[in-house]
């Protein structure tokens, strides 16, 4: 009987450490959340998560986040392409600006966006006469969600574009492909997994976002209220099990999103497996 040997030493030690760490940092809070939720009983759980006002927030949080993630997919891809492929004055500055939503406290972002889009402010006052309202409408929520999710797509896609060698594009051109055909059939497919990863991360970020949205959304029930706000509201009312119930629901939904995302990515990467 031979034990399976590994070339790198310390496999068991590092695996043990990883499992312990994951348990402490990720699994334990999840279990605590589940436990807290369970302590309220099934009836209370179901009542809380199916409350019409809460259900309306799912639409806002999961629906608008999806739109924001798709918008970020398109424009984030474009930005990543430009950063990876072109050298122009101010590129570094623009790249740094892209990362700003990563670093900016979300409440600051919320105040900044509200200051821009409120009816009497910089952009808002020009949109108001046109009948376009951003602040305190779902459009405002969309803008905040797009803002905080943008860098995820850029950061996921840019290194892959940089890595992409130009010879495949040249090969496609020599075979008679137009620029558009080359982009569509040769350049984009290898980028798809990274793009999906970026979109999913941006989606996850938008779903969990609180700070930057609550200012600009105005928190109008059934219209611009987001699910995380429901949690905070419950907490303020000392309804801890109610907050946990909504949190647990979000957790479950996020898990589903992550699993779907992983499936999509491995599908997009299927050609990298060597047999």
């Amino acid at each position: 009987m031979s034990k399976k040997r590994h070339i790198l030493p310390g496999f068991h030690l590092s695996l043990g450490w990883t499992v312990t760490w994951l348990s402490l940092i990720v699994l334990l809070p999840v279990i605590a959340l589940a436990g807290k939720t369970a302590s309220g009983g099934w009836e209370h759980f179901w009542e809380t998560v199916t409350d019409p006002e809460v259900v309306a927030t799912y639409r806002v949080t999961f629906g608008i986040s999806l739109i924001a993630a798709i918008i970020n997919g398109v424009f984030g891809f474009l930005a990543a392409w430009i950063f990876a492929r072109y050298e122009f004055p101010g590129r570094r500055l623009l790249e740094a600006a892209t990362d700003l939503p990563f670093a900016l406290p979300t409440a600051v972002a919320g105040i900044a966006l509200t200051a821009l889009y409120s009816p009497n402010e910089w952009i808002g006052k020009y949109l108001e006469p046109l009948g376009i309202k951003i602040a305190f409408t779902p459009a405002g929520v969309l803008i905040a969600m797009t803002f905080i999710g943008f860098p995820f797509v850029v950061r996921a896609v840019q290194p892959v574009i940089t890595e992409l060698s130009s010879d495949v594009e040249e090969a496609a051109a020599c075979l008679g492909a137009s620029r558009w055909q080359t982009l569509r059939h040769v350049v984009l497919p290898p980028l798809l997994p990274a793009l999906l990863a970026g979109i999913i991360m941006s989606y996850g970020r938008a779903v969990g976002e609180y700070g930057s949205i609550v200012f600009i959304s105005g928190n109008i029930p059934f219209r611009t209220e987001i699910t995380p706000l429901m949690i905070v509201t419950k907490l303020e009312q000392y309804d801890y099990t109610g907050a946990a119930a909504i949190g647990f629901t979000m957790l479950a939904a996020s898990l589903v999103i992550v699993v779907i995302g992983n499936k999509l990515q491995s599908w997009g990467n299927r050609f990298r497996k060597s047999a």
């Binding site: 020599c174 137009s178 990298r272």
Partner: protein, 241 residues
Amino acid sequence: MSIEITSLTKNFGAFPAVKDVSLHIKTGEMVAFLGPSGSGKTTLLRIIAGLEFANHGEIFFDGENVTMKSANERKAGFVFQSYALFNHMTIFENIAFGLRVARRSKRLTNEKIRERVLSLLETIQLSGLENRFPVQLSGGQRQRVAFARALAVEPRVLLLDEPFGALDAKVRRELRAWLTEFHNKTHLTSLFVTHDQDEAFDVADRVVIIDKGTIQQIGTPEEVRSGGGNAFVRDFLAIDI
């Protein structure tokens, strides 16, 4: 197809990669561009393919001026040292690519495409591997797929940029023999960039020796080897006279 090149010059910034090169290549010829690395031989080949554009000079394919035409209009069969296969496509789809992107009026039916791809797979002795992905093939197999992909669109000229440069010696010899045989059968006009003189003399009808962006000597392998060239050629080929 014949190729006529007249006083071609290409500068990369201040660096002259190709200097005033004129060359005539006859239909059906196999010509090797031989020279040290950085001599401008690859740049010359890329200008012919339309992957680079010259600062001065003109290029004619069969008398037609293609100087301003883009690579996808010239449709030269180009084989890269790095294979440049489409890794996300199966071997079948790699070879079929040029046929699939053809203009609708000229596009073959799916059955015809299938027929052509399978027959090319037979030519390159890789029948049965059509559903594999490039990462699942060896280097020599990948380069043969790249050949088949270039040949699928029936190019009028084959341009090979150090095609065997990334392969080991044994596979190199096999592929070289295969290429010679293929050329003897089809007489497809072929230009071949290499820094390996054995390869050049073995495969080519004529050898063009290039250094510092200019042609040092043109001739059959016998002529070049006999030592009639200038000091650079004698030194490069290590001919003792």
